[in-house]
């Protein structure tokens, strides 16, 4: 039987399964009773049977192949009381049962399944970590502000190269290889304050899912990972909110019901940098950033739900001549804006559809005014318009198909204007994609196969790229699963700026030049998951990534023109171990990674500056440890990162036309690229928080200490030479001990 005949036969068998069998089905939504927000990955099953499902990320579930009869539908989710409901399932009929779970009805001796466990039972997933608001808020804050990316940096396989950077180096990939999505909006430069913070307000986030590799065909356009962030929908029952003040910024969030729906609006703005500059008399210098996040949803009827979400974030840096209002005035503003509209449609009980339209924009505006009339200006703009449809087809009790298409147009432009002279450069990319995934339960509850295929057409170079994906899951026992996945990934856009820079304002994205091959990667992953207890899981994964046609900036250059990017290949491999505990007197995780990353440009083979061999992260939270105080701690231990150390120096002479004579300076000779390593990195952060209930409100005071024991981690070495002396090495350290306090009021 040739492959085409076999595929037809399979399709016919599926269709036959659909049409000939006459069992019924149960579908519906699972929501939080107190707020009306959907609960993703709640466990839904029919008592006394092995038939069940997990709700999807919109809270929708569908249980197929249910013999006609009366059942007890049981819905459980950790942190909520288990709900039971009698349902009657008719032959060939889908019974709808929406269930609201009560967070105040938790029974002490009740066995409740967490979202992680539900995913373990039902999904074919590797390298996936999901963090929700509750987990994010317990992690100690850096500089008083909780940051999603800093929490992600604590996961195994993720490397942070400095205390001052929240950039994510995931399993040997550079930050531009990560796809960051917020409610379907692609966020191209998710950073503030030169990389210190991300533009996402933690309290407004429902959950963030990191797919560190081997991600399914639904996702594409990046080589390494996907970070999929969902904004909370807001409380559809009551008007609530909170305000908080940390030493860096102030934040406010309001949420509440609207007719047939809910809304959420959150904002944050820094106040410390400006205040500090004024306090130290630094006139003529200013900096601030702000974030806005919002979401509103409207339920047209049970089967149609509309959602609008938005993001606005901007950094503004300025310096000016404080004594002369008409004098020098320099302003640099940059930021992300985005808007998405999504429709969740139950086209039929078997067919769930998410249709998304998204607009994403990154802008920068650099203006130098020498006087009232003399100005220089450089603006960059990256705009991304996306139309996306994702269908989930519960085709058969053993087959769940995900299929969709992604139509996108991405345009980049740079305009430079000096006085009356201007230059403009722009480019447009059309990446069009379609995908299909089939989650096939080959042996019920034991062996799952998830083949997938993604097709991309990239307008730059008229490229057609096929990306096959495969996931396997075998459960030899109730608490153990063996997993494997493999896939091909391509990326049509790259960044021009150096990934070696200690600080980064923003990335400059461009389409891959027509004459170059599309950067691609192959992922191979195998792992084991084992539940030790009902709330503790250990995961071990080995992974290998093979990169081809990477476009790397020239070493040492701040930025490299697109047509001068260097072609590189390489690989990374490693092993991640994670022990995670989600409930009890202590929660958190221990993550350990062992990694190797290599790159090759021509004859030069090197370890990039984020090639950390060992990385250990311990995140431990102790709710109500003493006097009602919640205690949280992070500890990181990692081997030194590579750098290019100086091995020699010489007097460099140069003719200076202004002086019409030759001068010298001492210049240093670098050793091989990234051949040295910094010392071991280690840091402990801790946080204490205490909540008081005062009538209509809750007040939480928190104290966070970054780098508790003031470890002197090396940021960089700098050599200084004096005539006739031996050069001296100066060490610049990362963040010193930094205590911060703050207050949060909920109402």
């Amino acid at each position: 039987m040739n492959p085409a005949t076999r595929a037809l036969f399979l399709l016919a068998a599926i269709l036959a399964g659909i049409t000939s069998a006459r069992p019924g089905a149960v579908n519906g939504y699972v929501r939080d009773l107190s707020s009306g927000e959907p609960l993703a990955y709640a466990n839904v099953y029919l008592e006394g049977t092995s038939i069940g499902a997990a709700s999807n990320d919109r809270g929708y579930y569908y249980i197929s192949n249910v013999p006609a009869g009366e059942y007890e539908l049981v819905v459980s989710f950790i942190g909520f009381g288990t709900a039971r409901r009698r349902v009657e399932v008719g032959s060939g009929v889908t019974t709808t049962a929406d269930v609201d779970l009560d967070p105040g009805a938790v029974k002490v001796d009740e066995v409740v399944v967490s979202a992680e466990r539900a995913r373990f039972e039902r999904e074919v997933e590797l390298s996936v970590t999901r963090l929700d608001t509750r987990q994010l808020l317990t992690i100690p804050k850096v500089g008083g502000e909780m940051d999603l990316f800093r929490a992600i940096q604590m996961l195994p396989g993720v490397i942070a190269t400095s205390d001052f950077s929240n950039r994510l180096y995931i399993r040997g990939g550079s930050p531009d290889q990560n796809l960051v999505l917020l409610d379907g909006i692609t966020v191209y430069n998710p950073s503030h304050l030169f990389g210190m913070y991300s533009p996402f307000i933690t309290e407004a986030i429902s959950d963030a899912t990191l797919l560190a590799g081997g991600f399914p065909a639904e996702y594409g356009g990046r080589l390494s990972s996907v970070l999929d962030i969902t904004t909370r929908e807001g409380n559809s029952k009551n008007y609530t909110g909170h305000g908080s003040l940390s030493m860096l910024a102030g934040e406010a969030l309001v949420e509440g019901p609207i007719p047939n729906g809910s809304f959420l609006l959150a904002g944050r703005r820094t106040w410390l940098p400006d205040a500090l500059l004024k306090a130290f008399g630094a006139e003529g210098l200013g900096y601030y950033f702000y974030d806005l996040m919002g979401k509103a949803n409207y339920e047209l009827n049970h089967d149609i739900r509309l959602t609008v979400a938005g993001l606005g974030a901007e950094d503004v840096l300025g310096f000016w001549d404080a004594e002369d209002p008409d004098g020098l005035d320099v302003r640099l503003a940059w930021g992300n804006r985005g808007l998405s509209a999504q429709a969740d449609l139950i086209l039929s009980p078997l067919l769930y559809c998410e249709a998304t339209a998204a607009w994403s924009n990154f802008f920068s505006n650099f203006r130098v005014a020498f006087s009232e009339t003399d100005t220089a200006r450089m603006t960059t703009d990256l705009t991304d318009l996306t139309l996306k449809t994702d269908l989930t087809w519960y085709a058969h009790s053993h087959h769940t198909l995900a299929l969709g298409a992604d139509l996108r147009v991405t345009s980049t432009s740079t305009t430079t204007r000096f006085d009356t002279i201007s230059f403009a450069d722009q480019d447009t990319l059309w990446p069009l994609s379609a995908y299909i995934d089939d989650k096939w339960e080959v042996v019920p509850d034991r062996f799952f196969v998830k083949p997938g295929l993604r097709y991309n057409w990239y307008s730059n170079g008229n490229r057609h790229e096929l990306e096959p994906r495969l996931g396997l899951k075998y459960k030899p026992g109730k608490n153990t699963s063996l997993n494997a996945s493999a896939g091909r990934y391509t990326q049509p856009m790259v960044t021009l700026n150096s990934t070696d820079a200690l600080f980064s304002i923003y990335d400059m994205w461009v389409p891959v030049p027509d004459a170059r091959n599309t950067p691609s990667a192959l992922h191979y992953i195998a792992g084991v998951e084992h539940w030790l207890t009902g709330d503790a899981i250990v995961e071990v994964e080995g992974w290998y990534k093979d990169y081809a046609n990477l476009l790397e900036p020239r070493y040492g250059d701040f930025a490299t023109p697109a047509d001068s990017l260097l072609t590189a290949d390489g690989y990374s491999w490693g092993c991640d171990l994670m022990l995670r505990k989600t409930e009890g007197w202590v929660t958190g995780w221990v993550g350990y990674s062992y990694m190797w990353t290599r790159r090759r440009i021509g004859e030069e083979v090197y370890h990039p500056h984020y090639d950390r061999r060992h990385n250990l992260n311990v995140v431990a939270n102790f709710p109500g440890l003493f006097w009602g105080v919640d205690v949280s701690t992070n500890f990181t231990l990692g081997t030194g990162l590579p750098y290019a150390g100086d091995i020699g120096y010489y007097p460099r002479y140069e003719y200076v036309p202004g002086e019409n004579e030759t001068r010298y300076s001492w210049r240093f000779i670098q050793g091989p690229r990234d051949a040295f390593r910094y010392p071991v990195y280690h840091r402990l952060d801790a946080g204490l928080s205490r909540t008081w209930t005062l009538g209509w409100s809750e007040i939480t005071a928190f104290l966070d200490v970054t780098n508790v024991y003031d470890a002197r981690n090396v940021l960089l070495y700098h050599w200084e030479a004096e005539d006739g002396d031996i050069p001296e090495r100066q060490q610049y350290d990362m963040m010193p001990i930094l205590p911060t306090i703050g207050l949060r009021v909920r109402f």
Binding site: F370, S371, T639, N660
Partner: protein, 270 residues
């Protein structure tokens, strides 16, 4: 819990051991080589070279570097540059360094590889605007004729204050960007006064040397890594340049001329 404690402790100890052994340094041995700087100017020029060496990071440096043999050659003529102090080598008389002549440099010293380089002198050129003594504003532009054979221009805008302070902006301009035309708006923040504009048309070697250097601080203040070189056998440059300069008065007031100057000498190319 008791069952897993010993293996966990052993595992953690092994991890700490492996972690602390991971600070690496490369095993390559540093080898010293000659470091040479020689720039010829078009027209009559008494050539001069600086010859020193590279130092290992743990060695102390010295500016006394005698004993090198430095030869210049052009066609069938050759000249030996003699050690005149510290690391300076010079020829005592002016040579005829005509545009488009190619000169060859050879530097030898026992224990080091021989350094070789060659340069072809760029053509002379002239500044079209401003003319010497002109009063200009930042609305004006500096214009000059092309120096054939050059790769770019190293420009300087220097002001000397009555107190003796100096101010200098140096800009490197590639031939394929602004060559021959430079708007002067960038002088807007600078005070009014007398300025000297000096342009050096650079051959490819010296242009690349300056371009790779990334700027210069007087007196050895600025330090950068990297070892760009336009000679073989060592580090350094053998290049050539043609010079042109003009002294002008910069005034911010758009009404041209300044007290004491006749209106006739005020010019503008706006």
């Amino acid at each position: 819990m008791k069952r897993i404690t010993p293996p966990v402790c052993v595992g953690f100890a092994l991890l700490l051991l492996s972690v602390t052994r991971c600070e690496l340094t490369p095993s390559e041995r540093f080898e010293s080589e000659l470091c040479v700087h020689c720039l010829l100017f078009a027209g009559a020029d008494a050539p001069e070279a600086h010859v020193n060496r590279t130092y290992a990071i743990g060695d102390s440096s010295s500016f006394l570097f005698p004993g090198a043999e430095v030869f210049l050659r052009q066609a069938r003529d050759s000249w030996a540059l003699l050690h005149v102090g510290n690391d300076r080598y010079a020829y005592p008389e002016s040579l005829d360094t005509a545009p488009f002549d190619t000169f060859y440099l050879r530097v030898t010293k026992d224990g080091y590889d021989t350094v070789l380089g060659h340069t072809t002198l760029p053509d002379t050129f002239s500044i079209l605007f401003p003319r010497p003594g002109d009063t200009i504003t930042t609305e004006d532009s500096l214009t000059w004729t092309e120096s054939r054979g050059s790769k770019g221009y190293y420009t300087s805008f220097r002001r000397e204050t009555p107190r003796g302070d100096t101010f200098d902006i140096g800009i490197l301009i590639a031939n394929d960007s602004f060559a021959g035309y430079l708007p002067l708006f960038f002088l807007s923040p600078e005070p009014e006064g007398a300025y000297t504009f000096r342009l050096a048309a650079l051959d490819t070697n010296y242009y690349n040397w300056v371009n790779a250097g990334g700027g210069f601080g007087p007196g050895g203040g600025m330090q950068q890594s990297g070892t760009p070189s336009t000679v073989t056998g060592g580090i350094g440059v053998f290049g050539s340049a043609a010079l042109c300069s003009v002294r002008v008065y910069l005034k911010h007031d758009p009404v041209m001329g300044y007290p004491g100057q006749s209106p006739g000498s005020s010019r503008s190319n706006r």
